[in-house]
Subunit: 399 residues, 2 copies
């Protein structure tokens, strides 16, 4: 006897439409493997007159969340809106009505990670969000497995497709940031307001989720140092290429001397390194566990179908109660420190505004320098007056 599971999709942008498409197109296969039918009962939208990339039954559209909330035939809420607080309120209300949640909304999940996970666990409901980190790559589910028998000491990744696309194009075509951003916007790889991507905020949110799950201890958005890519110029790419390096925006969180350190920043990796080979809008996550060693996961970090594939998989996992609920460790309260993050850096700044005389540095060009074994925060403060300056970490030999 087949089971029918009712779902509602909140928000019908790219990801929502992708979920609709996969559930329809792969209906027979999903039914064959799960013996269940995923029945899309409602789709919450703001505007009824929009055109969509998939053909849908317009009777499913509603702008009334209450209608979804009060429909007992809706078992699972697929939250793929672009709101933050409103999305969280809807997820909380839905869980209070006994509905399981799948979400791809990294902003809301990052901000309300503990509240949402706690509520799900307390009510014995699922709150799954594989698509929120690294799009189509299955990484949160394996991570949820690994923490049971590994001490994870580091998670690191190229987590934002827009930034990686821009940096790849700047590197390969020698163009300046502004031109590439414009192209990215025309191609739909970057939004009209690209700030949450290019300023590193999106990467930071994903690192917050990844590191909290990996270290089984709350690593908050405020615990993570942040530097974006919008100040990177063609000359920086060129200067670093001469040192055989390629710039990537990397989110990196690790345990060192029993302290947790986390930072999102542009890193000049070796041009023959693994991360340099992650190009275009692709993402990659590496995880280090004391039993399993190093694992790397690679795939599409964004895009309609890869992201929707992750969402659909979460729906199926809920049908079968197949994933662990997120649960932080007991008694883990390692210090989380920003001040102690050190490294070797490439810096470019206007020497008419700024003096770095107190730093031991090596001149590369009139405007750019290499600085060895320096505290990141100190350097950041010294460059504060020059809003066009940039700090890029140099990958060390043992990175």
């Amino acid at each position: 006897m087949k089971r029918i599971v009712g779902i509602a999709i909140l928000g019908f942008g790219t990801v929502g439409q992708g979920v609709y498409k996969i559930i329809k197109e792969k209906h027979d296969s999903i039914m064959y493997y799960t013996n269940a039918e995923i029945d899309i009962k409602k789709i919450l939208v703001r505007n009824f007159n929009k055109e969509y990339k998939v053909e849908i039954d317009r009777n499913l559209l509603t702008n009334n969340f209450e209608e979804i909330l009060n429909d007992d035939a809706i078992d699972i809420i697929v939250e793929v809106t672009s709101s933050i607080d409103q999305a969280k309120d809807m997820m909380v209300m839905a869980m209070n009505k006994g509905k399981d949640i799948v979400s791809a909304n990294k902003a809301a999940i990052s901000k309300y990670f503990n509240e949402l996970n706690d509520l799900a666990r307390d009510n014995n409901l699922h709150f799954l969000h594989e698509a929120a980190v690294a799009g189509g790559i299955p990484v949160l589910k394996p991570l949820g497995d690994l923490v049971m028998e590994n001490d994870i000491t580091r998670v690191r990744g190229i987590l934002n497709g827009t930034c990686n696309f821009i940096l790849s194009k700047m590197t390969e075509e020698g163009e300046d940031y502004e031109n590439v951003l414009k192209k990215a916007q025309e191609l739909g790889y970057a939004e009209a307001d690209p700030s949450s991507d290019v300023d590193g905020i999106d990467t930071l949110r994903k690192l917050r989720i990844l590191s909290t799950m990996a270290f089984r201890q709350d690593v908050d958005e405020n615990d993570i140092l942040l530097e974006g890519i919008s100040n990177i110029k063609a000359c920086d790419i060129k200067n670093l290429a001469k040192l055989n390096r390629t710039i990537k925006l990397i989110g990196d969180a690790w345990v060192e001397d029993e302290k947790i350190k986390a930072i999102v920043q542009p890193v000049a990796v070796y041009s023959n390194s693994y991360f340099a080979s992650v190009r275009e809008a692709y993402n990659s996550v590496t995880v280090y566990g004391d039993m399993v060693g190093e694992l790397k996961f690679y795939g599409a970090g964004a895009g309609m179908l890869p992201t929707a594939n992750a969402v659909t998989n979460d729906i199926i996992d809920i049908l079968f109660d197949r994933q662990s609920k997120v649960r932080l460790g007991e008694g883990l309260n390692r210090q989380i420190t920003k001040d102690e993050i050190k490294g070797d850096f490439y810096v470019r700044y206007n020497s008419e505004i700024i003096s770095l005389d107190s730093f031991k540095r090596k001149k590369l060009t009139n405007e750019s320098y290499l600085i060895k074994n320096c505290q990141y925060e100190k350097l950041k403060r010294a460059l504060k007056k020059d809003s066009n300056s940039i700090i890029i970490r140099l990958e060390s030999e043992d990175y």
Copy 2:
């Protein structure tokens, strides 16, 4: 109330000892996340007087499988022996007694894949074997998820740590095959009789498991073309390095024109490609799905703890009934063809024994040639008389 799950370990080599170690060392963490205690009740060995790398309670050792079979407190059998038919018999007997199975035994699983999976499904038991393919890398579990909503069109990987170690050392140190093999044996990376590794048989078994799961149709050992690495010489590495290529042993199965093609062979990949960056005893698997796109998984392909980590995770998944049982597709019977595998190849042979005059070829050195767009089987037959000859596929631009 905590649950106690009894297990027995069959075989106590590297992997078995690793499982013992993880279950003991990570006892508290596993208990915290699962609320279950994994209780090792028995360990099946041939010889009672062996020294082990882990300290164990010697009372657990037995050489009597019946004792394990008839112990109702043993719920899960962890089969990590090096036998084939005997291992299969034990797994069948255990399933007939209602016990779930975890195995890392790729030889037995490859040979009896359908029989073991069918028996497990018919009896509503688990038969999990993540550790049998690519050691510590979680790949079979994500693959089991992906097939529900993806048509997988290709699986490909560096699947044997011994071969990859040997080829890496030959490439980096310019040494000949025999010297490196000797070193690998001294370091414990290769067995005294290395034939199943270096002849590609181990890779073939893993590809048989991977491709059958990916294509949801039986791809048998006999369906896969096979060429090993034992004929590769330092001169081949050098000749191909001049063409900016690195040799890797790759298992590759794909769907083309609605036909399935599968081959294990040395491939000269571009030296700046992803597969070239997979060095030492590491493994990598790439999977292509029509929804998710390309995914790559990377990690330790062998070793006590990574492999045992995969086994332990399977045990935990059984506790919670968390993985799909393997089930092939319905009505899928695409033709599996060996004859149609074509490509560009590097060949080295003794021209005093062999003539390749009928092949359009380009001379590289006195003994080695490049041949374009040629049928692999035809070339193989032509070289048959020269037992020292080697065929290496040239990765094409769009590989």
